[in-house]
């Protein structure tokens, strides 16, 4: 089936089998291997990407379902060789060890920051609940939560200026 979509701002046209997941399409056809496949059945969140600005599990989304959409992967969230503000904050908090889950967390945090930018004010409980959408087997979550709290607070300050 022929699909046409934007990936990280670039228009892409491809012929894909109906059963190909968006995760496989991104990794195998476009070489965007920053989208990781952990469980492949929607439990772990390593394959989170932004689909029309909303975080989705790329393993539970068919490539054909993304026809006509705008997809942003981890590669589209850091614009140079330098880490993005979110990545930098995660590094400073030592919020990763093996890093396998990190792209999924970055996507979750970027979506949350966009909502904060639009006026949302997540409570600490809501923030933890959001981050529960991804699993991390290394860090015990505390540094990831701390990094997200710092980023949300910084975004709120930035908006109030």
């Amino acid at each position: 089936m022929t699909i046409e979509l934007r990936v990280n701002g670039r228009r892409t046209r491809a012929d894909v089998p109906a059963r190909m997941s968006l995760a496989d399409f991104l990794r195998e056809r476009l070489g965007l291997t920053g989208t990781h496949i952990g469980c492949g059945q929607g439990l772990c969140g390593s394959c989170n990407v932004l689909l029309d600005s909303r975080s989705v599990r790329a393993c539970l989304t068919l490539a054909v379902q993304a026809d006509g959409s705008d997809v942003v992967t981890i590669e589209g969230l850091s614009h140079s060789a330098e880490p993005s503000a979110v990545q930098d904050c995660l590094i400073r908090h030592r919020a990763l060890q093996c890093g396998f889950c990190t792209p999924g967390f970055v996507v979750l945090i970027e979506e949350l920051l966009a909502e904060v930018d639009a006026g949302a004010r997540p409570t600490p409980a809501e923030l933890r609940d959001r981050l529960a959408a991804s699993l991390c087997r290394c860090t015990g979550y505390a540094p990831i939560v701390a990094a997200a709290e710092e980023l949300v607070a910084a975004k709120i300050v930035e908006r109030s200026r």
Binding site: R19, G40, G42, L43, R57, L62, V64, E126, A133, L135
Partner: protein, 287 residues
């Protein structure tokens, strides 16, 4: 993890969806968000010959309120509903929606899809029974309304007939004097399916609670609405004895099953505990 091969058809109208279902009712599955269906397909628990994607049907993206209810089309995601101003006043539904799955699954998963999947522990089915409402099914034979009490037939089985799909669901609007609370117990990483979901609603009139409805959902049986007789005329000031009695007698009649996530007995004890907690929360609204 890849599903078995299938054909994919994105339809543009409800008529086209019905026609596609009619051609091969047994081998066709309706695809909306796919957040319940895809995990089953990648585990090869389902091998449909064809998926009919209904998310591009404009008519099914409708979400609107009327004086007496809230109608949600089959292509409306849980997240869209969660963000909609329309859910104000639908207490248990508004509380339950942010707790469905994870943000990433709510962004794709639909309200109707969760209800059609009929996982007995799922939040939205419990809310449908607590608020009351109906499911509108559609097939090439036309529309059919199914009341909330008749929709769930068994765990993961609904009243939908071969060739039918869910068109929309309607939740009754609670009366202004109605209050309601939702709670659940979830295990991390177990597909985010709750061990149990529970909702309690009631009206507060002249300083007393009336028309108390208790609903509990969990593995083993469809979501259960407490028979007013079994809860012993639970009304008035909801003192501790009445609350404990209602929670125990109702939960004693539930027939949960055991699975790797929890035993039937554990689910029953959770039901007692959560129902009592929700009733005490309702009591706090008494003047």
């Amino acid at each position: 993890m890849h599903p078995a091969p299938f054909d994919y058809l994105a339809v543009a109208s409800v008529d086209d969806a019905c026609a596609a279902l009619r051609e091969d009712p047994g081998g066709t599955r309706v695809l909306a968000g796919g957040q319940s269906l895809m995990p089953r397909m990648v585990r090869r628990l389902e091998r449909p010959r064809r998926l009919v994607d209904i998310t591009r049907i404009a008519e099914l993206r409708d979400l609107h309120t009327t004086v007496d209810g809230l109608r949600i089309g089959a292509a409306v995601t849980q997240r869209t509903t969660e963000f909609s101003a329309a859910i104000a006043g639908f207490h248990v539904l508004a509380q339950a929606l942010p707790r469905v799955g994870k943000v990433t699954t709510r962004n794709r998963g639909t309200v109707c899809g969760s209800i059609a999947h009929a996982n007995p522990a799922a939040e939205l089915g419990v809310c449908l029974l607590a608020l009351g409402g109906e499911v509108t099914a559609v097939s090439s034979n036309g529309f059919r309304q199914v009341a909330e009490q008749d929709f769930f037939r068994a765990p993961h089985r609904t009243d939908l007939r071969p060739g039918e799909l869910v068109h929309s669901v309607r939740f009754h609007r609670p009366k202004p004097e109605s209050v309601g609370y939702f709670d659940e117990v979830t295990l991390r990483g177990a597909g985010d399916t709750p061990l149990i979901s529970a909702a309690v609603t009631g009206s507060i009139v002249d300083g007393e609670a009336t028309g108390v409805r208790i609903v509990v959902g969990g593995a083993g049986q469809i979501p259960v609405l407490a028979d007013p007789a079994s809860t012993g005329g639970l009304s008035g000031r909801l003192d501790d004895d009445a609350v404990e009695h209602a929670a125990h007698t109702f939960s004693a009649g539930l027939s949960f099953t055991s699975d790797p996530h929890g035993s039937a007995d554990h689910r029953r004890r959770l039901a007692v505990h959560i129902v009592a907690r929700l009733l005490r929360r309702l009591r706090k609204d008494l003047p």
